[in-house]
């Protein structure tokens, strides 16, 4: 606990291109990109959007992860424009300035030069960083893991670079560059920046609760849930920050300027993902990339929808708890959590309680969470053998886009595989909150599964939603999607049945 005998640290401990930085005062509240560009005048990291949507500002962040033979630093790409310094305590940041070795270009840089991977060059440092991260990783789009010397494939590059926009090249020469890098000749980041000493220092500070203040502003970076809850109880009005992929954007757009911040980045109890007895349990502070990796074989439908959630950079920071608490009607995970009947484990000063997510939201951005509480874990019943789960996301662009419309359908047929025993349907982007469709669900129950029935259900679904027209699409478009998606569900199932 913060007030316990253990002294709190009053500064952040961050390594940057191998160099130790003790960050305190105003600097702790800066975004990483501002810290790099304005404080250190390291201007290789470019800023375009300040909202996580272009990747020009990509850097690699290494954090200690357990590995056989002790902890090591695992590097992942993030958008530095929406990451705050206080989220980076006990992390090693590598920016584009940190890649050259003995004045020579890194293999990725060299390949980008030779393959004409840059035109105007403004997106290039971001691509170089993201690609370097992929070369470190084990094939997951979000990096991480341990790659062992295989060249990058075009598919990996496509999946791994969706967070980086380029307006000039049309990407093909960038992919050529990525494919041409010889991993055998590529030094691991741990060779450029030996892990050992940094891991040792980070580990020795692993239990530190950090509180930094500056001119009436406070940020707490506790190391335990207890300490976090204590701070929250004392500062019920504080802004909770997990990955800051929502909060960072709001801050940069001038919508909020929090004076008191509770940063969950170092709370170990909020991390981790596992499953037991048909239930998947994830810490609220688990990053999407961790969830994505874990559910790949377990719930492939959920995995697929996560591969088009934001970008690798976003999934390397954003958390499931943040997605739930942000309470957006187009949060991509929520329709899935609704139909599965996920339970939120909510921690408060007096203990924990559980809420069915279907009862959690009470209106637009209003939900059942007291000021002294945090979402601690999410328990998700897994689909059974007998159930069919389909998840849909419709957006203007396939990748790195917020949904226009989302849907989750969970259906169970009778043993004969003909009659619908039960179905749960949840839509996002069709009303101010994510909706279940009780009338349509009731209509379908007991019906024989068939095209006409689903067609009719689609008409009914239309009447249960109240979409608006906005920048992501017209109300008519959304109504049509609300209707069509059930037919699409029929065809997706029918196709599978005949296979």
């Amino acid at each position: 606990m913060l007030q316990s005998a253990k002294p709190t640290r009053d500064h952040l401990l961050v390594y940057l291109n191998g160099e130790r930085h003790e960050v305190a005062g105003t600097d702790a509240f800066l975004t990483l990109s501002d810290y790099l560009r304005l404080r250190l005048v390291q201007v290789g990291t470019k800023i375009v959007c300040s909202e996580g949507d272009c990747g020009a500002c990509s850097v690699l962040v290494g954090r200690v992860e357990e590995a056989p033979g002790g902890g090591k630093l695992v590097y992942r790409a993030i958008d530095s424009c929406i990451a705050f310094m206080y989220q980076l305590d006990r992390a090693h940041v590598i920016s584009v300035e940190g890649l050259k070795r003995n004045g020579l270009l890194s293999p990725v840089q060299d390949a980008m030069v030779k393959c004409h991977g840059s035109q105007c060059g403004f997106c290039t440092p971001g691509f170089v960083m993201a690609m370097t991260g992929l070369l470190e990783g084990d094939g997951a789009s979000t990096g991480g893991g341990d790659r062992r010397g295989e060249a990058l494939t075009c598919d990996e590059l496509r999946a791994g670079l969706t967070g980086n926009l380029c307006r000039c090249t049309g990407y093909i020469q960038i992919m050529d560059a990525g494919c041409s890098v010889d991993p055998g000749k590529t030094a691991r980041l741990s060779e450029l920046y030996p892990d050992g000493p940094m891991v040792e220092i980070f580990d020795s500070h692993a239990q530190d609760d950090v509180v930094v203040t500056d001119d009436g502003r406070t940020v707490a970076v506790p190391a335990s849930l207890d300490a976090a809850l204590t701070f929250k109880t004392k500062h019920p009005g504080c802004t909770v920050v997990a990955g800051a992929t929502d909060i960072g954007v709001q801050r940069n757009k001038g919508k909020i300027d929090p004076r008191e911040v509770l940063c969950l980045a170092n709370v170990g109890e909020l991390k981790g993902v596992g499953h037991e007895g048909g239930t998947l349990t994830t810490g609220a502070g688990e990053r999407w990339s961790g969830v994505e990796r874990y559910v790949e074989d377990l719930v492939p439908q959920f995995h697929d929808i996560l591969t088009v959630f934001g970008s690798p950079q976003i999934r390397n920071m954003g958390t499931i708890g943040g997605n739930i608490a942000n309470a957006s009607p187009i949060a991509d995970s929520v329709p899935f959590l609704f139909v599965m009947g996920a339970e939120l484990e909510i921690a408060g000063p007096t203990g924990t309680r559980r809420v069915d997510i279907n009862n959690f939201y009470q209106g637009y951005k209003k939900f059942d969470l007291r000021p002294d509480e945090l979402i601690a874990r999410v328990h998700i019943p897994l689909p059974t053998e007998a159930q069919t789960l389909k998840l849909y996301k419709v957006s203007r662009r396939r990748d790195l886009d917020i949904s226009t419309f989302t849907a989750a359908v969970l259906m169970e047929l009778d043993d004969a595989g003909e009659t619908i025993k039960g179905v749960r349907i949840a839509y996002g982007g069709a009303a101010p909150v994510v909706l279940r469709l009780p009338k349509t669900e009731a209509f379908l129950a007991g019906k024989v599964f068939g095209e006409d029935v689903l067609h009719e259900a689609g008409h009914l679904a239309r009447t249960e939603v109240t979409p608006i027209s906005d920048v992501r699409g017209s109300a008519d478009f959304r109504l049509q999607l609300a209707e069509n998606i059930l037919l699409r569900f029929y065809h997706d199932c029918a196709q599978k049945m005949t296979v």
Binding site: K114, S118, C120, T162, R167, F477
Partner: protein, 782 residues
């Protein structure tokens, strides 16, 4: 070995990949530099009632607060028509139109100052779209026409006819580096501005005009841009003015860097168009009568809209011979930011219309659109003159069509696609080939000139300065190669310097794809002068050393890093030594070169002439896959074949072609500008404005070029490549249209551009509903 033809890396590539290449925002601030921000109009249209600056002036850290009243020169400017205020005076005409400029010691101070400004505007009804502007007869500039033959009687006699309207949306340039500039005070009121601009001369001229200076007192430089695409041809001027005004007033350096949001909200974009068309044709689909009335959404002031509309009229035909044609263009004045140049410059909008007509004609006749395009394609005389009666010479289009149809296996794939559509309940496929014939040259004749300064140093290294600005397109790299080859030295011996109005004067914007053509040729001219002097001297020198040959400048060669007499190549001198000796002998090693494009002339009143030096041509086939339930579109395969002459740098040219295509595909299938009724842009950042992502790139992308060395009149037999491939992105739209018309039973199905998932799904829904109703009617009559 000559470097022209080699894919050598971009001259800034090392800087790009290391982050060491500096853009305006990256330049270290000088000690007392000021940060500049602005306050724009809160409404799209209205009279300014009051501007209250008192509170802003009091904000700590605010150093200056300026309005139009602080402008010492003229507050009005414009590249063609002088109708655009720098800072709004009595009225505002679009949301975000700059009214107040604020300088702060820090960015935060400047922003606080902005928030403290109170502006009251009496709003008036805003005109936002083309239809309303037409209704109110609000236009910019004169109506332009290009006619040929006798449309009216050809229309009357046509065996088949279609008519309709076609709409294409605007497009944000989305250069990654937003508009930015830094102004430094010079002595005696002079000023130096570093600007992210495609047009240093225009910026210099407007700065002088607005600040009340003479042109020789203003220097504008541009090292590089983080993308331009036309968006920095004129629109870099306002931010440069803001920084310069602050610098002029305070005597301090001043920098402005638009946020991406502000940039997208207040700067102009590609014009949205609406076109009324009529097309008459024979049973083969051969067009006999075509009429098009183009209306563009120009925004609040003229900017480059007139030139853009001119290029639209000049591309009405695209690759197709139109014997009887009537075209007319009008620019609508609306309450949006002044729309401006964007790669293609009105060409894409025209080509979209005629390519749409090709799809419609095909659907009408039940033919395949390829065959319709093929019979209409420019061929031999008399089917080889454009509506403005320029001859289409060394025309490879028919060959390109046929060769690409073969290499892309078009016919077989078409059959597969149409079969697929008959059987699949869940998806649709579409395939289409479209063409481009893009005219190279500025349609404004005087702009077709370039100058270059070449300086050879005594160690044999060379600096080149031209009016070309580098925005990623590789113009500096190409010029570097050209100059290196002129002297027979390695590219590393040549540097292309920051573009500056001090070194290259009275230049044209880097635009119209002509950057390398004009500036490369000017550099060659400068090199030629230096080489002539060098050769004269070398002839004497070699004769002194080796009197067996008569001195002959014509026999002097500059190759392989050496200078020698062709007749005794063994007696060569390394270039770096020779240059030193030449200086000792008082040979002038610097020169200024000049080039003007020959043979072009266009009478815009008559709509006749040769506006173009040559045409860059090509074709592309796109195949798309569409989800019937969501309208989601995926461009799966693209095959492209272009004639871009002999490439100076294949690495760069491939990049131009691919990048251009994908940008065009973005315009045609995805990018959507959404405004609300108040005229505010809602899609003002990459969160809501979606340019193509890496996963939107077709899985299969086959790119090939015709081997055409026949373009000998242009620099190194190359052809301009910047804009033309963008227009081939339309093949993806045409393929979507093909898919949708398959759903309609191969009937025509009207669809706007871009073909977003929403547009496609709403089209499919209309088709489905019509079909259902027809079914119902049938059953009820039975």
């Amino acid at each position: 070995m000559p470097t022209v033809g080699q894919p050598i890396p971009h001259d800034s590539a090392n800087g790009h990949v290391t982050g060491e290449a500096l853009y305006i925002e990256d330049i270290r601030p000088v000690v007392d530099e000021l940060y500049v921000e602005f306050v724009g109009s809160p409404v799209a249209c209205g009279k300014i009632v009051s501007v209250d600056l008192a509170q802003a002036k009091k904000e700590p850290g605010v150093v200056g607060v300026y309005t139009y009243q602080d402008v010492l020169g003229h507050n009005l400017f414009g590249p063609v028509i002088c109708d655009e205020p720098f800072l709004a005076e009595s009225r505002v005409d679009y949301v975000g139109q700059p009214i107040v400029v604020i300088a702060g010691k820090t960015l935060e101070a400047a922003r606080r100052g902005c928030r403290a400004v109170k502006i009251e505007v009496a709003p008036e009804p805003a005109v936002l779209d083309i239809d309303t502007a037409i209704e109110k007869q609000q236009f910019i500039g004169p109506e332009r026409r290009i006619d040929r033959g006798d449309f009216d009687s050809a229309w009357k006699n046509a065996g088949h006819k279609i008519e309709g309207t076609f709409e294409s949306g605007g497009q944000e340039q989305f250069y990654l580096e937003s508009q930015s500039a830094i102004a430094y005070p010079g002595e005696q009121g002079q000023i130096v501005v570093e600007s992210s601009t495609q047009n240093p001369t225009e910026t210099q001229a407007v700065l002088a005009e607005v600040l009340g200076l003479k042109m020789h007192e203003v220097v504008v430089t541009c090292k590089r841009m983080g993308g331009g695409f036309g968006g920095k041809e004129t629109q870099g001027v306002i931010p440069a003015l803001m920084a310069a005004l602050v610098s002029q007033k305070t005597g301090r350096a001043a920098r402005i860097v638009y946020t991406k949001d502000d940039d997208m909200k207040v700067t102009g974009k590609r014009h949205a168009y609406k076109t009324w068309y009529q097309a008459g044709f024979d049973s083969e689909g051969r067009l006999t009568a075509v009429k098009m009335d183009y209306y563009s959404n120009g925004g609040a002031s003229a900017d480059l809209s007139t030139g853009i509309m001119e290029r639209t009229l000049l591309h009405a035909d695209n690759a197709y011979y139109l014997p009887n044609v009537k075209t007319c263009g009008r620019i609508c004045k609306t309450n949006l930011p002044p729309n401006t140049a964007f790669r293609g410059f009105g060409g894409p909008q025209a080509v979209a219309v005629i390519e749409n007509i090709m799809q419609e004609v095909a659907a009408h006749l039940g033919k395949d659109a390829f065959d319709v395009r093929r019979v209409n394609c420019y061929g031999d005389a008399p089917r080889n003159t454009t509506p403005y009666e320029q001859e289409v010479t060394s025309n490879l289009l028919p060959e390109i069509f046929d060769k690409l149809a073969e290499t892309s296996d078009y016919k077989a794939r078409l059959a597969e696609v149409e079969d697929f559509n008959l059987t699949s309940r869940t998806q649709l496929r579409g395939i289409a080939m479209t063409a481009v014939k893009f005219g190279i040259s500025f349609t404004t004749k005087f702009l077709n000139q370039g100058n270059a300064l070449v300086s050879v140093y005594t160690d044999g290294t060379v600096q080149v300065s031209t009016g070309a600005t580098e925005m990623g397109q590789g113009v500096n790299t190409k010029i570097r190669q050209i100059v290196a080859d002129e002297f027979g030295i390695g590219v590393e011996k040549v540097l292309v310097m920051t573009t500056s109005t001090e070194k290259s004067i009275n230049t044209s914007p880097t635009a119209a794809s002509a950057g390398t053509d004009l500036n490369g040729a000017a550099a060659v001219h400068a090199c030629a002068q230096i080489k002539q002097r060098m050769a004269d001297y070398a002839a004497k020198l070699f004769n002194e050393n080796n009197p067996t040959h008569k001195p002959s400048a014509d026999d002097i060669r500059f190759e392989g890093g050496h200078v020698f007499d062709r007749r005794s190549p063994d007696h060569s001198i390394p270039f770096g030594e020779f240059t030193n000796q030449a200086r000792m002998a008082r040979v002038d090693l610097g020169a200024r070169g000049f080039y003007k494009t020959p043979g072009i002339d266009f009478d815009r009143e008559a709509g006749r002439g040769n506006p173009f030096f040559y045409f860059t041509t090509g074709c592309a086939v796109s195949e798309v896959l569409i989800d019937r339930f969501t309208g989601d579109l995926c461009v799966e395969r693209v095959d492209m074949l272009m004639d871009i002459g002999r490439m100076i740098n294949p690495g760069i040219d491939h990049g131009q072609v691919i990048g251009g295509f994908i940008q065009g595909m973005g315009w045609a299938t995805a990018e959507c500008l959404v405004y609300n009724d108040a005229g505010e842009l809602l899609s003002y950042s990459p969160t809501t404005y979606k340019i193509p992502n890496i996963t939107d790139v077709p899985e299969t992308f086959n790119l090939a070029f015709m081997d055409n060395g026949a373009n000998a009149q242009n620099i190194r037999s190359s052809k301009a490549v910047g804009e033309p491939p963008l227009l081939l992105g339309l093949s993806a739209w045409a393929a979507a249209k093909h898919a949708v018309s398959c759903a309609a039973g191969k009937q025509s199905a009207s669809m706007k551009l871009p073909a977003t998932n929403e547009e496609i799904l709403m089209c499919l829904t209309r088709i489905e509903n019509t079909r259902r109703e027809a079914d119902k009617r049938q059953t009820s009559t039975r």
